[in-house]
C-alpha cells in the first residue's frame, strides 16, 4: 500500500507492504544508502535514524509507523549538534571501517541535541545500542565530548 514519508524535509510516496522496515524503504526504495544494515533486530545501531528528533532503529520500525513523522537520515543531518558531531568525527579521526559510523553519528547527534553537556555515563547510556567491531569507542566518546565543547562554546555556526 502507499505511504507518505517525510524524509529529510521532503515528502515521498512509497508503495510497499506496511510491515517493511523503514531501513529498507530508505535504502532500497528511496536509494539513500547512508543508513546501514547491521543486524535487523535493533541490536547494533547501524541503522539509526531520527524520528521526530529521537534516535530510532530503522531496521525494526515498520514503515506504517514512520508515516507522517519527521524522519532524518545521515544524508539529511543539518542541526548544530549534528554538524558539531561530524566535524568532531573528522578531528578525532573516528572511523576505521566506517560502516557503523552513520549510526554512531545519528545517536551522538540526537544525544547532544537534547543534552549538550553529557556525563560519561550519559554518553555510554546513549551509545550503548551502537556496536563498533573495529573498536573506535574511545574516539567516539572523545568526539562527543569535543562536539559538546564546540556547541557550548558557540563554535558551531
Amino acid at each position: 500500500m502507499s505511504y507518505s514519508l517525510n524524509v529529510n524535509g521532503q515528502t515521498f510516496e512509497v508503495d510497499v507492504d506496511g510491515d517493511t522496515p523503514l531501513l529498507w524503504v530508505v535504502r532500497d526504495h528511496l536509494g539513500m544508502t547512508g543508513t546501514k544494515f547491521g543486524c535487523g533486530m535493533a541490536q547494533c545501531g547501524a541503522c539509526t535514524v531520527h524520528i521526530d528528533g529521537e534516535a530510532s532503529r530503522s531496521c525494526v520500525l515498520p514503515v506504517s509507523a514512520a508515516a507522517g513523522r519527521q524522519i532524518t537520515t545521515i544524508e539529511g543531518l543539518s542541526s548544530n549538534a549534528a554538524r558539531a558531531v561530524q566535524q568532531a568525527w573528522v578531528e578525532v579521526q573516528a572511523p576505521q571501517c566506517g560502516y557503523c559510523q552513520s549510526g554512531q553519528i545519528m545517536s551522538a547527534s540526537a544525544l547532544l541535541a537534547k543534552n549538550s553537556n553529557p556525563s560519561d555515563a550519559e554518553i555510554e547510556s546513549a551509545m550503548s545500542g551502537n556496536i563498533c567491531r573495529c573498536g573506535t569507542y574511545s574516539r567516539i566518546k572523545a568526539g562527543i565530548r569535543r562536539a559538546a565543547d564546540a556547541i557550548n562554546a558557540g563554535e558551531v555556526a
Binding site: G40, I74, Q96, R133
Partner: protein, 722 residues
C-alpha cells in the same frame, strides 16, 4: 596508457551521486535512484588521469590518483599507502585521491605472497618500498618534463607541495601531467629515496584520512551498490554444517509479491527478488527439508570431550629442542595448566555480501574483495572463462577481521551461482546477521596443555605444549606452504620458537577433523597461543615469587625487541604502583607479524564482575608511517581481543549454532571499552605488521590482572571470575 585509463574508469568506485529528489512529493510511486559505481568516476575529475606507473596517475586538473592494491577495511591502508607516494613525490596531501586497484595479479600482487591479497598484517610491510618508489618515479618524470620545458638541468629543479620550480619558473603537477606521462619511466635502481630525516608525511600524525565519506554516509560499501535492473538474493542455508537440501517447496515463497525466483544452489536455496526485504520474506515462507547425512552433528560438549581426551595423548611433533620429556619426567618442581578457547565469529558490522553480473564467459563483481587472485581464479573456473575475464571492483569493506579472505571464496561462489541463473543482470547477495553468525569460518576452538619443570631459581628448564584444534590451512589452496609435516603452522605460531629462553622445549599438535568450517581471525593462532603462553609464564613467575615483568625480562635477555616494549610499557603504566582495593595490574607481551607488543592493564573487580580501567600498549612495528592510524589499529585490536575476554563465544548443540545475532553473540560495547594509551618504540627499520599484533596480548594481560587480585589462574576464554 589507453587500457590503463579504461581500467581506471571501470574500476573506481568514486564518489556517490545523489539525485535531486525535490518535487517528487505526491507523485505516486517513487522510483529509487540507482547508484552505478561504474559511472561515478567521471565525477571525480573533469579530465582523464595520465598514468605514470601502475600506482600513480595525475590529472591535468592537478589530482594525484593513487591506486591502492590492498582492501581498505578500516586498517587505514588508503591513507598509509598514499602517504608513501606523497612523501617521495613531494605532492600536496590535499591533491591525493585514492582508489582501489583493479584485480591484476601481475601488477598488484602482495609482494609477500605472490597473490593479490590483503592479510597477515602485510599491507604496509610489503608495499612501503614499492609505493615510495612509485612516488619517486612519478616525481622524476614530472621533473624531467619540467627540465625539458624550461630547458634547465634536472638537478636544479625542486619540488614541494605539488609544485615544480626552477628560478622564476613554476608549474603544478597538473600542468605538467601530460608532458610528464610522456617521459620514459626511470629505472627503479636509479631512484633516490628520501632519508627518514627528510620525511614530511611519513611519521606525521595529523594527515586527514583518504578513505573519505565515512562521516557523511557517502562512502560506498558493497551493501550500497545499486545498479540498473539489479536483483537482490538471499539464501536459505543448512542449519548444520555439511547439510544439503533434500527437498524444498517454493510455492509460498513465490507467492510473496515481488519474489522473482527460487532455486537450489550448492549452498542452499536462493530466493531472488527486487529488494532485500521482499527476498527475506520469501525466504521466511520457503519450506526446506535438509539432508543431514553428511552434516556435523556434534556440539561443543561432545567436541570438548574429544579435545580433552586428545590432550592426554601424544600429538604430531611441531617443535623439539633439547629433551623436554626427560627433564619433565625427572624429579623436581613441575607446573601444568590446561586452557580452553571457544569458536569465535568475526562478525564484522557489514555482513557478507557481493554483487555479480555474469555475461557468458565473463563476469564483473563489486564487493570488499580481500583475495583478488583466488576469487578471480575460482570465478573464472565457474563461468568457463579466464581469470582476466573476471573484473573485480573492490569496494570499502565494513570490517573483516579475516573473514573476507576466504580460501574457498565461499560467499563469492554463492553469489556467482545465483547470478549465473540471471545472465546479464547484476545480482546482489545479502547475508543477514544470522547468516553471518551461523555461517561458519570461525576462529577454531582450541585446547592447550602446558607444562614446565623448574630449576632451583624458579626458571623453566623444560617446556611442553600440547595443542588440540582444527587446522585452518588443511584442505585449502594454502596448505602446501602452511602445513609442514602434518603441522599447520598457524595452529602453533606463538608457542613454537618460544620467545622466552627455555633450553628444552617440545610442542605437539592434534588437528581433529570437525565439520565446522574454520578460518583465520585477527592474529590467527596467536589469539590462543599468546593467551596460554602469557598466563602460564605469569603462573611460573608467581610460583617463583618473582615480579612478572622482572621474571619475563630475565627470560628475554636474548630478545631485545620484546624486552624493550616490555620495559617501556612497565614505565608508562607505572608498573607496581599503588592501586585501590580490588584493583590489579596484569601484563602480557607477544610478537606476531614481525612486530612486538606489550600490554599492561588495570582491572577492577566487584563481585563476579570485572572492568578493565586502563590499557597501556607499546608496539615496535618498525617505521611508523602514520602514528595516528597505528594507534587506532592498536586501540581496535585491544577492543577485539578484549571482546574475546569478556563475551565473544560461539557454541553448538547437536551441530546447531546456539547464537544467531548480537543479542546472544555478545561483543564489546562502549561501556566496556577502556582508555588505551599507545606508545611506540622508536625504529628506523622497515614497517612490520600493525593490524593484528595488538590483539594477542590483551586477554592474557586481563587474566593476569585478575590473577593478581584473586590469586586464581584463569585458563578459559571468555573469562569468568567465579
Amino acid at each position: 596508457m589507453g587500457k590503463f585509463q579504461n581500467n581506471l574508469q571501470q574500476h573506481a568506485p568514486g564518489r556517490r551521486q545523489f539525485l535531486k529528489l525535490a518535487g517528487l512529493g505526491g507523485a505516486g510511486l517513487v522510483i529509487g535512484l540507482r547508484l552505478d559505481p561504474r559511472a561515478a568516476l567521471a565525477q571525480q575529475s573533469g579530465t582523464p588521469a595520465l598514468s605514470y606507473n601502475a600506482f600513480v596517475s595525475v590529472t591535468p586538473d592537478n589530482q594525484v590518483r593513487v591506486l591502492i592494491k590492498h582492501l581498505e577495511m578500516g586498517q587505514g591502508i588508503y591513507t598509509g599507502l598514499a602517504t608513501c607516494v606523497a612523501e617521495e613525490m613531494d605532492a600536496d596531501w590535499s591533491q591525493i585521491v585514492c582508489e582501489h586497484a583493479p584485480a591484476d595479479t601481475e601488477k598488484y600482487a602482495n609482494l609477500g605472497m605472490g597473490l593479490q591479497a590483503t592479510g597477515g598484517s602485510t599491507g604496509m610491510a610489503n608495499s612501503y618500498q614499492q609505493m615510495r618508489e612509485a612516488g619517486a618515479a612519478a616525481r622524476a618524470m614530472l621533473v624531467m618534463a619540467a627540465a625539458q620545458h624550461w630547458n634547465v638541468p634536472v638537478a636544479d629543479i625542486s619540488v614541494a607541495a605539488g609544485v615544480v620550480r626552477h628560478g622564476p619558473h613554476s608549474a603544478t603537477f597538473g600542468e605538467l601531467a601530460a608532458a610528464a606521462a610522456a617521459q620514459t619511466a626511470p629505472a627503479v635502481d636509479s631512484l633516490v629515496l628520501k632519508n627518514p630525516s627528510e620525511f614530511i608525511y611519513i611519521g606525521n600524525p595529523d594527515l586527514p584520512r583518504k578513505d573519505i565519506g565515512k562521516n557523511t554516509g557517502t562512502a560506498l560499501y558493497t551493501q550500497d551498490v545499486q545498479l540498473p535492473g539489479m536483483l537482490t538474493a538471499v539464501v536459505a542455508h543448512s542449519p548444520r554444517f555439511g547439510g544439503k537440501v533434500r527437498s524444498f517447496d517454493a510455492s509460498a515463497a513465490l507467492a510473496v509479491n515481488g519474489v522473482q525466483a527460487v532455486f537450489e544452489i550448492d549452498s542452499g536455496v536462493a530466493v531472488v527478488a527486487q529488494d532485500y526485504w521482499t527476498a527475506s520474506k520469501g525466504r521466511e515462507a520457503l519450506k526446506v527439508e535438509w539432508d543431514d547425512s553428511n552434516a556435523e552433528m556434534r556440539g561443543s560438549k561432545e567436541l570438548a570431550e574429544l579435545y580433552r581426551s586428545l590432550l592426554e595423548t601424544s600429538g604430531t611433533l611441531a617443535e623439539k629442542e633439547g629433551d623436554a620429556e626427560s627433564v619433565l619426567s625427572a624429579a623436581g618442581e613441575y607446573l601444568e595448566a590446561s586452557f580452553e578457547f571457544p569458536y569465535l565469529s568475526h562478525a564484522p558490522m557489514e555482513p557478507m555480501n557481493c554483487v555479480a553480473q555474469i555475461n557468458g564467459n565473463s563476469a564483473e563483481l563489486w564487493y570488499g574483495c580481500q583475495f583478488q587472485t583466488i576469487d578471480q581464479m575460482v570465478v573464472a573456473e565457474m563461468i568457463g572463462g579466464r581469470p582476466e575475464d573476471v573484473v573485480i571492483n573492490t569496494l570499502f569493506a565494513g570490517g573483516g577481521f579475516g573473514r573476507r579472505a576466504n580460501p574457498f571464496s565461499d560467499y563469492i561462489v554463492e553469489t556467482v551461482n545465483i547470478a549465473k541463473q540471471h545472465p546479464g543482470i547484476p545480482v546482489k547477495l545479502v547475508w543477514s546477521r544470522e547468516d553471518d553468525i551461523r555461517g561458519g569460518f570461525y576462529r577454531p576452538a582450541f585446547m592447550h596443555k602446558l607444562s614446565a619443570s623448574l630449576g632451583p631459581d624458579g626458571k623453566p628448564q623444560a617446556f611442553k605444549a600440547r595443542l588440540v584444534g582444527q587446522s585452518i590451512m588443511e584442505g585449502t589452496p594454502l596448505a602446501e606452504m602452511s602445513v609442514v609435516e602434518g603441522v599447520d603452522v598457524s595452529s602453533v605460531e606463538g608457542l613454537v620458537e618460544l620467545a622466552y629462553h627455555v633450553p628444552n622445549r617440545l610442542v605437539e599438535l592434534h588437528s581433529p577433523k570437525v565439520g565446522v568450517p574454520v578460518q583465520w581471525w585477527r592474529s590467527v593462532g596467536n589469539t590462543h597461543t599468546a593467551f596460554s603462553k602469557e598466563v602460564f609464564i605469569d603462573l611460573l613467575a608467581r610460583n617463583a615469587g618473582i615480579d612478572p615483568v622482572e621474571y619475563r625480562l630475565s627470560l628475554l635477555e636474548h630478545n631485545p625487541k620484546e624486552s624493550a616494549v616490555l620495559r617501556l610499557a612497565a614505565e608508562k603504566a607505572g608498573w607496581g604502583r599503588d592501586l585501590p582495593a580490588n584493583t590489579g595490574q596484569g601484563v602480557a607481551v607477544h610478537s606476531s607479524f614481525g612486530s612486538s607488543v606489550a600490554e599492561i592493564v588495570e582491572v577492577s573487580v566487584a563481585g563476579d564482575r570485572f572492568k578493565v580501567e586502563r590499557v597501556v600498549a607499546v608496539i615496535d612495528c618498525g617505521t611508523v608511517v602514520n602514528p595516528d592510524i597505528v594507534k587506532a589499529q592498536v586501540e581496535g585490536a585491544v577492543a577485539l581481543g578484549l571482546s574475546t575476554a569478556l563475551g565473544d563465544e560461539l557454541t553448538l548443540t547437536d551441530g546447531l549454532v546456539d547464537q544467531s545475532n548480537f543479542h546472544d553473540y555478545q561483543v564489546l560495547r562502549m561501556s566496556d571499552m577502556p582508555e588505551v594509551e599507545v606508545y611506540f618504540v622508536d625504529s628506523d627499520l622497515p614497517p612490520t605488521g600493525v593490524g593484528e599484533p595488538g590483539t594477542p596480548a590483551i586477554a592474557p594481560a586481563v587474566a593476569n590482572a585478575l590473577a593478581a587480585i584473586t590469586g586464581k589462574t584463569y585458563t578459559r576464554l571468555p573469562l569468568k571470575i567465579g
